[in-house]
């Protein structure tokens, strides 16, 4: 892997843009309740794989963009994402050694933390209802983690395009 600083930035941006697309994809309501937080999953992957490239600041920036994209109050996703990424960064050495299942468990707690924070902030603004389907994206996100991991690993290790 080349060690120069600018390596992979285009890939990070494009994968996160793609994750944002998935986040706002027009699914019917039956599936929409399952739609996990793709942006957070992508950010977690990049922060584990390249902690020197993706930090809390990046998480905060992309969180802010997600806020704008989804029409939330400013800083909601930014706060949740930066906290989760802070956790990932401080634990990334240990996490890389863990078997897949334990990693997925950690991802589960990350998603749970972010979802609960978002719900908490929303509840401050106006009364939000906690429905049983609220928990589904977390489980689906955890199940999707192996997929995200493999795909993004493929993206990360693919040969750089000549024109870059």
């Amino acid at each position: 892997m080349p060690m120069n600083k600018s390596y992979g930035f285009g890939r990070i941006i494009s994968t996160i843009a793609f994750a944002m697309c998935l986040k706002i994809a027009p699914l019917p309501t039956i599936f929409a309740v399952y739609n996990p937080d793709w942006v957070l999953l992508t950010l977690i992957y990049w922060s584990l794989a390249m902690p020197e490239r993706v930090g809390v600041f990046h998480a905060w920036t992309f969180g802010l963009l997600t806020d704008v994209l989804t029409g939330r109050m400013f800083g909601q996703y930014a706060l949740a994402y930066s906290l989760v990424i802070y956790l990932c960064l401080s634990l990334h050495r240990r996490l890389r050694q863990l078997p897949f299942i334990q990693q997925a468990l950690f991802i589960f707690f990350c998603l749970l933390l972010s979802q609960l924070l978002l719900f908490f902030i929303k509840n401050i603004q106006y009364t939000a209802e906690l429905k049983p389907t609220f928990w589904l994206p977390i489980f689906v996100g955890t199940l999707c983690w192996p997929l995200v991991y493999t795909l993004l690993r493929f993206v990360r290790l693919a040969k750089p395009i000549k024109t870059d």
Binding site: A32, V33, W60, G63, V68, L69
Partner: protein, 274 residues
């Protein structure tokens, strides 16, 4: 910590709106990108329709158009009469509404529990928050955030939305609160002896100033007579099926008592409709 500061700042005032507008320039392309497949599909659908079906549709539409024209003739006369009568009563009347046709973007920005949709017209077209949004059948919702190239519309069925309505039959005023489901509005603020029946048409009352007066909103559902507590209504607008919406500019300045001003306003309205 910065995000907590941001959260509180935006909770208190709206000074961050330009920042949001600037950031939205970076993310709005994503909305259009996600919308692209749906858009392409509808275009393809449109272009491969057969000649005969198009001709049939054309015939139907022109029939409908002439019917509507006749109705409009009558409506204009009624409107003039109404203004005259109101002048007699020394009352003022809101007129002169302009509309802008906006198209829904097929994106799903909010969580499934909120009824918020995105349309493809923003502040570049002069859209501003708290404008009413209607479709051909009735009121759809209101603009609650306008970005440069898109704006977010809160539907009347959103749990955090309430619209002042009036029973068309007898003028009874009440408030319709969103239920979170696209086909139901709740009417929680009615007394037990309120004169309301299943099938009553609810129109917007114009109180509160956000929604123009007199647009159909919903039809009251059937309910068991003693249970006046939980009356629901079905929205008239096709909230989940329509792709084309209209954003309404209603003239906040009431028309003065002089009836001579009304033809000009009608002209302006006709111009806007064209």
């Amino acid at each position: 910590m910065a995000s907590i500061a941001l959260l509180t700042t935006e909770h208190i005032n709206f000074r961050l709106a330009p920042v949001r507008a600037a950031l939205s320039l970076a993310v709005d392309p994503i909305k259009y990108l996600v919308d692209l497949p749906t858009e392409t599909m509808s275009r393809i659908n449109y272009s491969i329709r057969s000649y005969s079906s198009l001709r049939e549709e054309n015939k139907k539409l022109s029939e409908k158009q002439s019917l509507n024209q006749i109705r409009l003739l009558k409506y204009e006369a009624l409107e003039k009469e109404n203004i005259r009568l109101r002048a007699l009563l020394e009352n003022s009347f809101d007129l002169g509404e302009q509309v802008l046709v906006a198209e829904l973007l097929a994106v799903n920005i909010a969580s499934p529990y909120e009824n918020i949709v995105v349309v493809n017209k923003g502040t570049r077209f002069g859209v501003h928050p708290q404008q009413a949004v209607v479709d051909a059948n009735g009121i759809v919702g209101q603009i609650f955030r306008a970005l440069p190239y898109s704006s977010e519309v809160m539907l009347i069925t959103d749990p955090n939305h309430a619209i002042p309505v009036q029973v068309n039959r007898n003028g009874l005023l009440t408030i319709a609160v969103g239920s979170g489901e696209l086909n139901r509005l709740n009417l929680p603020f009615l007394p037990d002896n309120a004169d309301i029946r299943p099938g009553d048409l609810l129109i917007s009352s114009g109180l509160g100033g956000t929604f123009p007066q007199g647009y159909p909103v919903a039809v009251v559902d059937t309910f068991a007579p003693p249970a006046n507590k939980r009356i629901t209504a079905t929205p008239k607008a096709l909230l989940d099926r329509n792709r084309e919406l209209m954003i309404v500019w209603s003239d906040k300045k009431p028309v003065s008592l002089a009836p001579s001003q009304s033809p000009k306003q009608n002209e302006a309205e006709d111009h806007a409709n064209e």
